[in-house]
Symmetry: C2
Subunit: 218 residues, 2 copies
Amino acid sequence: MTGCRVSVDTVLFRLGLARLQVLLLRRLRPPFAGWSSLPGGLLHPREELQAAAVRILRQRAGLDDVYLEQLFTFGDPARDPRGRVITVAHIALVPPATPLPAGDASWTPLHALPRLAFDHRRIVDYALQRLRGKIEYSPVGFRLLPEEFTLTEVQEAYEAVLGRVLDKRNFRKKLLSLKVLRPLGRARKVGAHRPARLYRFEESRWEGVRDKGNVFVF
Amino acid sequence: MTGCRVSVDTVLFRLGLARLQVLLLRRLRPPFAGWSSLPGGLLHPREELQAAAVRILRQRAGLDDVYLEQLFTFGDPARDPRGRVITVAHIALVPPATPLPAGDASWTPLHALPRLAFDHRRIVDYALQRLRGKIEYSPVGFRLLPEEFTLTEVQEAYEAVLGRVLDKRNFRKKLLSLKVLRPLGRARKVGAHRPARLYRFEESRWEGVRDKGNVFVF
DNA sequence: GGAGTAAGTGTGACGTTGACACGAACTCCC
DNA sequence: GGGAGTTCGTGTCAACGTCACACTTACTCC
């Protein structure tokens, strides 16, 4: 068969300690043995691209049910020293408490990335850029949160992604005005201070928001 | 070599008669003989993705020096009846006067597309959606215009892409306030009416605009 | 009951958006 | 040479969104 190999790599983000983290694997074999890399693998012959990303995340990180979207296809003929492999990169988002199986996978803060194998650094950089753009006009940010969350948690998520601090009152005012959160009437008791009210994101209320040109720009 | 074939397809837009048009080729051979399709072809073994798109546009449409960006990679295992081919779709923009070589290529208005081969209709739809989004926060719109243009031409370009009419005074006020156009001090004399002043887009003035959060939303 | 901590809340200044109508400049024709 | 026809080019005002900014509330722990 003529053609070249096609792989799928995923930049998997989560929030940890109010910082954005990505999942990295430690490579055991050459090339780049001992380096860190994104979870990825070759596309199977009759497999959808996104299905491949899902399969690989399950195999390599024991994860199920993650939010996934295609990012970009990297095709530099020299990106893999073993021969040509083009890779379809994806972005994935998971909530903070996502467990990891033991093994060679670890969450790494984005501001302290080690050297990455192949062109994976470029892929991560591009993924962050895209995530920053997208979080402002789409509700993907909630994929980084648990189902029930406080407003402070939402703000921390936005701050972690955007890399800047936001004004508390303005953030809450804007977010609530979009009418996409449903207050649960309950509160989370945590520590020695006033409990925070819990909310849930209502996917179904999103459509009208986008149609009106409203958006998560804070 | 294990792997599947990889092709590159391009949705090439231009403006014609104040409408958005795409370049279509007529297929001569099966599958889909007689149908229209996007210009595309197989990736060469040591070729960059974007270089392949450039080569194909040159070969199939005689075009050089077009604006190109990657759109999305379509990987449905059944998208080509001959066997698996994943395709890296691109968007290209050219100014209105772009000549076409004779042959099987033709400009087709977007609102009157014929049936397209493979999944090319889906690709065109997605390309339009992306172009509409992108024109509002990046100056790609100017790639659809000649180097020197009038404000009315810019407005027509935005109206054609966005598919809605815009207010003339508000459009001009906003566009000029971004300070990315350089007035040429000359005018284009055309027909029996007041001549229109000519402008040029200044790439170098764009950075500051984006940094300030300004944008081409009209 | 006092200290400590995060949650929750409103106002006013400023800038942006959006609706809206008419004179200016040119050509062509008579 | 003047009138008809056509597109170019321009300003104001009201409504709305954004941004800066500080204190009280609710709870726990000692």
